[in-house]
């Protein structure tokens, strides 16, 4: 490895890391809330709502993320409905915004499955006890069901966060220059394929390591009643 190359590549890839972090943060922030909504819909007794949530998660988990990104970026702009709506057009017309849309909708589907598993693991007795205490539905969810569900779901959700970080690399296929986008450009410019891969890969590994460590710390904090 020669030092000049590293000195040239690292700042460029770090610039890309900013974009990757931004994409991840926005799509996780949107995707988590959507996923929570879908998980609640999925376990509701309303057949229309739970059917919709189930269909949503089947479609988004059954197709590759790349197809979803291309469908949103290239496909939606063709529809008159989207073209004439200023807000929708604002989202679809830009690669980064479109990538956030696709990533958020995609991670929402996986998040809803994880949270559903968490919500279903809450013992019925606890919910009944809360009901017997006269807690309203919202209060019960906020104070009893959600805190217990998130504890159960956190390890799996950490994996999903890593998958989202990896998913942001696909934004490079629709003109967004993040770590993978810059790495591809540098690979074809310098022909130093291994070196660029090593630097870009290390950036991703460190990002994922930090995320996993944060999730573990949060998990330990939430489970501190079990430590002795």
């Amino acid at each position: 490895m020669d030092l000049d190359l590293i000195r040239q590549a690292v700042p460029v890839l770090l610039k890309g890391l900013n974009v990757t972090a931004m994409l991840t943060f926005l799509s996780v922030a949107i995707g988590f809330n959507l996923g929570l909504g879908l998980a609640i819909m999925r376990i509701s007794s309303n057949r229309f709502l739970s059917g919709f949530a189930k269909g949503y998660s089947t479609v988004f988990r059954g197709t590759p993320l790349l197809v979803q990104i291309f469908l949103f970026y290239y496909g939606l702009g063709q529809l008159p409905l989207v073209k004439d709506n200023a807000a929708l057009w604002w989202v679809v017309s830009d690669g980064a915004r479109c990538a956030v849309l696709a990533l958020a909708l995609n991670t929402a589907a996986y998040t809803s499955e994880i949270l559903r598993g968490g919500l279903m693991s809450v013992p019925a007795g606890l919910i009944e006890a809360a009901q017997a205490c006269g807690m309203s539905r919202v209060l019960r969810f906020r104070r009893i069901e959600f805190p217990l569900a998130i504890r159960q779901a956190l390890p799996a959700y950490g994996n999903e966060l890593v998958l989202t970080v990896k998913g942001t690399s696909l934004a490079s296929t629709i003109t967004v220059l993040e770590v993978t986008g810059y790495a591809k450009r540098l690979m074809s410019q310098t022909y130093a394929v291994f070196e660029i891969f090593a630097i870009a890969g290390a950036l991703y590994l460190v990002t994922n390591l930090i995320l996993i460590t944060l999730v573990r710390a949060l998990e330990r904090r939430l489970m501190r009643h079990q430590q002795r």
Binding site: T58, V59, R61, G62, T63, P64, L65, L66, V67, Q68, F70, L71, Y74, G75, L76, Q78, L79, V162, V165, K166, G167, T168, S169, L170, S172, T173, V179, T180, A183, K184, M187, S188, Y191, V193, F194, F197, A200, G201, Y204, L205, N208, L209
Partner: protein
């Protein structure tokens, strides 16, 4: 017909998409088989903590599971394209670089990715086998290879099925990524169709539907197989 359904039908794209889907399935199956072989070998190494090799395997699974698949595909493709072209030209097959070669690289790349996930599944399945079974076999004086064939492998395979099912689902979806390096599978065909006819919406929608069909059909098939296997073990 303003979305281009007519163009899809008249332009002969239906058969092109079918051919693309066949290549997608071929890549996925080949990568899955290769990945499973890698997974068994690496899983055994990881499970037995065979000293120097286990660090290599740990590094392999950590890198593949932490680095985007797209970046791995770029690495394998860009690092090999020059080499392969030179070798192929030297032997007088200058055209090789654009035909069968992309398929081979795709299988290697996707196989390496699914291999890392299979490794974790196999290691987990091996760890789930009760230690007493292996000790009992040793006490009976069975030789190592036969312990593996008669005691370890049958249990490991059965425990690994749900996990391998997940790996298969991920592998099918990962095959879409090799379209970026030019293999004419389902995604690439949809891309070409979208650019030629200028009707991207319908082409990517069709691609999504075909992927969904592949995942749902294989899911049902695997569920069926799992049930059969479970029934037989109950008897």
């Amino acid at each position: 017909m303003e979305f281009g359904l007519l163009q899809v039908w008249e332009g002969g794209w239906v058969s092109a998409i079918m051919r693309g889907a066949a290549i997608t399935i071929a890549v996925a199956i080949a990568a899955m088989i290769g990945g499973f072989v890698v997974g068994i070998i690496c899983g055994l190494i990881k499970w037995g903590r065979i000293r120097p090799l286990t660090y290599v395997v740990d590094g392999y699974t950590a890198v593949i599971r932490g680095v985007p698949e797209l970046l791995i595909i770029y690495l394998l493709f860009f690092s090999s394209v020059e080499f392969v072209t030179r070798v192929a030209t030297a032997f007088g097959y200058a055209g090789l670089a654009d035909s069968g070669y992309a398929f081979v690289i795709a299988v290697i790349a996707i196989g390496a990715i699914s291999g890392a996930y299979s490794t974790e599944v196999v290691r987990g399945a091996l760890a789930a086998i009760p230690q007493g079974h292996i000790e009992a076999a040793r006490a009976l004086g069975l030789p190592g290879p036969r312990i593996f064939r008669r005691i370890i492998a049958p249990q490991m395979l059965r425990i690994a099925i749900p996990g391998m099912n997940n790996v298969w689902q991920v592998t099918i979806k990962d095959t879409a990524l090799v379209s970026v390096v030019g293999l004419q599978e389902l995604m690439r065909t949809a891309f070409i169709g979208a650019n030629t006819t200028r009707h991207p919406f319908i082409f990517y929608l069709i691609a999504a539907v075909v992927y969904l069909a592949i995942t749902l059909v294989s899911q049902t098939g695997i569920d069926q197989a799992e049930r059969l296997l479970r029934l037989r073990s109950r008897k």
